[in-house]
Amino acid sequence: MKIEGQIRIPSGCAISAAISKDGNKMSGEMIINSMKPMHDRSNGLGGGFAGYGIYPEYKDFYAFHMFFDSRDTRKKCEAFLKECFEIVKSEIIPTRKIPTIKDEPIIWRYFVAPLNSVLVSLQSEEKDFVAKTVMKINAEMPGAYVFSSGKNMGAFKAVGFPEDVGVFYKLEEYEGYSWTAHGRYPTNTPGWWGGAHPFTLLDYSVVHNGEISSYDANRRFIEMFGYKCTLQTDTEVITYIMDYLLRVQGLTLGEAASVIAAPFWSTIVAKTDLDDRKKHTYLRTMFPSLLITGPFSIVLGFEDGLMALNDRLKLRSMVVGEKDDKVFIASEEAAIRTMEPYAENIWSPAGGEPVIVKVKEGAF
């Protein structure tokens, strides 16, 4: 597996998501189909999906999805994991051999729980320890990449068109209450397996259409807090920013959105709601290095919901629609119509206006 620097394939994107507010399960087939009308937004150099609620039988364990470049690397990584984790199940992620997906790495999954003795001796909080382990493997173990590490969720990604990636991973056999999808058209970085979306950490996953001009400023800031950007694609930093703001700093989703897609100062100054003005002033002052500039439309997945967000200038498209208990989000209305021909209340959120959809308490 070659990474950025060893090869470079200079070459837009498509995103899509569906969620049931009642926690009803949907097979992966629908979300795969949603990518078909947006085929031309991708160029075959990356596709991926995240599903939530897909591992109910192992819901108390972190599901590590991993790429390995060789059997040796896998053995080494397993030995490392066994030092700190109980591994309750390890298996090859089932895939189909199809002509459109080639040169796959070794793709494996582990359901794990950190050993209590390790947590106690390190005085470490569980999620923090898991996140640090992911960073350590991705940064320090050549040829091994954790591309998914949440509970009862999983990311599935590859080099190829998204509809082929979905078939490759047999996603029609998984059932989740929430799904996101991505078709990639890499503009600055190579189309390699680790560079496909979603980018995940713990149960956070991000699919992104766009290109962050503030990448390096964001990266330098976030790496001060133990995160390591190893996948050489701008979207990766958004995932770590969201983990930092939501899990570590304890911000609400809306506040985190106001940090990364902060309104212009002129817009903040013009706010008549004084509390709102104060809040935005505070957030922009506290986290200036986490303002994400450049075009983006993203869908953030998390345990109990989704958040869709556009950059404040809205330089990428995003459409939202609803039907009964379901909410659909996509780069194009055509994708929503493919999932639900009778979707209602089709609308486009404004730039910087987060759309937050939560699954009912207890339904996931």
Partner: protein, 240 residues
């Protein structure tokens, strides 16, 4: 009248079918195919379903009716003809259009009419029935953009930063625009009777297309925005 079933066709196949003999077409089951009717002349086309991005790009005197919403970049760089949308349109509608008409019943996304231009008898016209998103008429260099504000929710008739970089053409908003901030390099004022007369022909046509009454439409005040050549546009993107 020929019917094209778009269910299993990509955009190339749809456009090839449209280029064949005949002028009148209906596309059924459209779902996201982009570039429909790009560059075409002398066609009358009705679309059922959702057309993809860049519908009618470079359109050169064809008529397109869409019985649904349309996506981004409707009428990109169109030259002549008419696009009628019985729904909303996405972002960047009429991007750099230099002639023809885009009439929309519903709302427009961001950057409607970005860089529209005009030359002599070529005057592009865009009419939006509902409200428009931010950056309406960004870098507008010519032509006429009209927003009617028929939308029912409480949204402002246009979002933030309208007319940024505008240096030609006119925008008419059917509102007194007290809640809208315009940039310093444009002049916004109450539209005079003779200015409304200039656009009356377009408004009448719009009313007959969508079944509105012109008297009712004209019963509200209009604000007209034109560039102020003494105070030209300065960049906004670089300084945050």
């Amino acid at each position: 009248m020929q019917t094209i079933d778009a269910a299993d066709l990509d955009y190339r196949a749809i456009n090839e079918a449209l280029r064949e003999a005949g002028n009148d077409f209906i596309i059924e089951g459209c779902c996201g195919q982009k570039f429909i009717a790009a560059g075409m002349s002398h066609k009358n086309l009705t679309i059922n379903g959702i057309p993809g991005n860049a519908l009618g790009a470079y359109l050169n005197n064809a008529n397109i009716t869409v019985n649904a919403n349309a996506q981004d970049a409707v009428g990109d760089t169109m030259n002549e003809g008419k696009i009628l949308i019985h729904g909303n349109i996405g972002d960047a509608a009429g991007y750099a259009m230099r002639g023809g008409k885009i009439y929309v019943q519903g709302n427009a996304g961001y950057r409607a009419g970005i860089h529209m231009k005009a030359y002599k008898e070529k005057i592009p016209v865009m009419i939006i029935g509902g409200c428009a998103g931010s950056f309406l008429g960004e870098y507008q260099a010519g032509g006429v953009i009209i927003v009617l504000g028929f939308h029912k929710d409480n949204k402002r008739i246009v979002g933030n930063f309208p007319c940024t970089g505008m240096h030609g053409g006119k925008i008419f908003l059917r509102s007194s625009c007290e809640d809208i901030d315009f940039p310093k390099q444009v002049t916004a004022r109450s539209a005079a009777a003779d200015e409304l007369d200039e656009i009356r022909e377009y408004l009448s046509e719009y009313c007959s297309d969508f079944g509105y009454s012109i008297e009712e439409l004209l019963s509200e005040p209009f604000t007209v925005i034109t560039p102020d050549s003494k105070n030209p546009y300065k960049r906004m993107y670089v300084a945050n």
